[in-house]
Subunit: 354 residues, 2 copies
């Protein structure tokens, strides 16, 4: 009389998502003592150049805002081919180069770090593997404490990269930046997000072909990471936009049948504009799936996931968690294996034969 | 016996595409004399920060490679919300800030330029309107000589922005960079591309739903501009990727039914890797529409458009032209008006009420 269908085994990705509060705590405890060495390494330098690809690049985009806005340090993302293919000679003796790679083994990132050192930069690595080539070659290696990550989509390594970059920004900025205290609130905030029912969001996504994701400022990295994870895990092209870029032109693509995922801040100067964007996209015929934001923003969304109640400056470290949960459920609804997307390996390379 | 069907009137966009050789010549002639003033303004500064949105942002991405690789000047793209919403205080007294906007009236760009000056930066504007707010407030205004642009999609203003940024890079770099001589070849190269039959490319695009665009290095800006133009003009989401980013993860979305537009260099260290990428994408089931590149690359494409025969460093200034032509024809095939896409204005703003 009973059916023999088994409940699905928990995916590795779901397990690793759930490990994130502990991973964040371990990483904070491990890296806080590096504060003085980071300050000393930055002495006499004026700016930070971040080197990364993929999810690590999205963590670096977050770090750029944190460094410029909260720490007052000019920061930018490197174009790795300038180093690896064009072999430009730049004077980087005013620069701290921060290379981010969960494996610490992506050849392009290792090579770009070597180039930066030859150009006069001081170097910091952020990786999850203490004896990786990237860590071994850096002036100072920050090793995230995510533990082994088995599922191909980066979850806990991504979140702990942001923690490590937060420790870096705290060290480079003024003593009263408040970053350290705010970072300390992140693990509990992540814990508080894990029980949320994300099935309505996964259901909304499963039924549509055209998905865009948008955010801005501190939350831009979260929006881009949400889009990238959806592409990697669910095998569909998903475009992530700064909402400013979206308004500047591509908003013309938004119409009936589009689902817009908006990643919003609960606080700060961009919280209110995101509510206006939700109104505008719905007026164009799109359905809006909101993540985080103000209560007024939540009311404007067709489907809504709660974000963390944290200051905007550290909110992105936690706000990716409901997105990860939603994407894991979406992949299963689509009959896909979130742990092993088609055609990807855990150590990613960007060139053939490298 | 004869049909009464009218040949379609030529669109404004097509006329403006055809005006580009003359617009490039006028802009070069007008801006070359600014070389010494640009050098003087950069004196004592070490790096360039580019401020832009939309098509102008894609021109700025090209300029970043030209500045770093050919001129040896560290360069990066600004995050405007750092200025306009977060009002960060950064020390930019080592920085030349270059703001790019065809109208010179986008409030966000004007405001970011003001912020940069307050942070100690020297400022250069690149716009097509000599008495625009952006030009009026800059230390040095470079006015492109595109003439009035009526069609909403930027064509000749985009191309002449790249010419202006080329003059800038020539001025800031060493005397033997070769940029000035190479730029001088651009107008004739553009002229040589205008007669090409782009209908097979437009036909290939009209029949598919999923389109991605990829390029890398100097040609990355061209790839992103091709994707943006397709979005704005043809009302479909199109994702543009660095080929390195594509290989790093989202390549998992490429399969049957995807059309991949690859923008390739004819010369330089990335020419050969693009041929490998074409092979890889076809092996995954995609059709490949190639633009430019080596003869070996062209042979690997299902449909191919010729690019200019120029050094990679200035190739992007001309290589956008066949893409513009193809997109104009595509819009007409889709029954759309390329001159007036839905929901866009000529002076773009990125925030409500600004």
């Amino acid at each position: 009389m009973s059916t023999t269908a088994q409940p699905p085994a928990r995916t590795q990705m779901a397990s690793e998502i759930a490990e994130q509060p502990a991973a964040a705590r371990r990483t904070l405890d491990h890296l806080r003592p590096e504060r003085e060495r980071l300050r000393a390494l930055f002495q006499g330098r004026r700016r930070v150049l971040l080197v990364a690809r993929g999810s690590s690049d999205n963590a670096a985009i977050y770090a750029r805002y944190l460094l410029e806005v909260s720490a007052g340090v000019p920061a930018a993302l490197a174009a790795p081919s300038v180093a690896t293919h064009y072999r430009a000679r730049l004077d980087l003796d005013d620069t701290l180069v921060v290379s981010v790679s969960q494996s610490g083994s992506t050849a392009e990132i290792v090579e770009t770090q070597e180039w930066a050192r030859a150009c006069g930069a001081a170097t910091v690595s952020v990786s999850n593997v203490a004896d990786s080539p990237l860590a071994a070659a850096a002036d100072l290696a920050l090793t995230t404490q995510a533990g082994p990550e088995v599922a191909v989509p980066a979850t806990k390594t991504y979140l702990t990269q942001m923690v490590a970059l937060g420790v870096l920004a705290d060290a480079l900025g003024p003593a009263d930046s408040g970053i350290a205290a705010d970072l300390g609130r992140v693990p509990d905030a992540v814990d508080g997000l894990l029980g949320q029912d994300v099935e309505p969001a996964a259901e909304a996504l499963a039924g549509v072909e055209r998905v865009i994701v948008s955010g801005r400022g501190f939350l831009l990295g979260t929006a881009l990471e949400t889009a990238l994870k959806m592409e990697e895990t669910c095998l569909r092209p998903v475009r992530g936009y700064s909402y400013a870029d979206l308004r500047h032109g591509p908003i013309s693509v938004v119409g009936d049948g589009v689902l817009a995922v908006l990643v919003a801040a609960a606080h700060g100067p961009l919280a209110e504009p995101m509510a206006e964007l939700a109104d505008d996209l719905r007026a164009r015929g799109a359905r809006v799936l909101g993540l985080g934001g103000t209560p007024a923003f939540g009311e404007r969304c067709d489907v809504h996931l709660a974000g963390p109640d944290l200051p905007e400056t550290v909110e992105p470290v936690a706000s990716i968690v409901p997105a990860q949960m939603m994407i894991e459920r979406l992949a299963l609804r689509l009959g896909l294996d979130p742990d092993n997307p088609r055609g990807l390996n855990k150590v990613t390379q960007t060139d053939v034969g490298r």
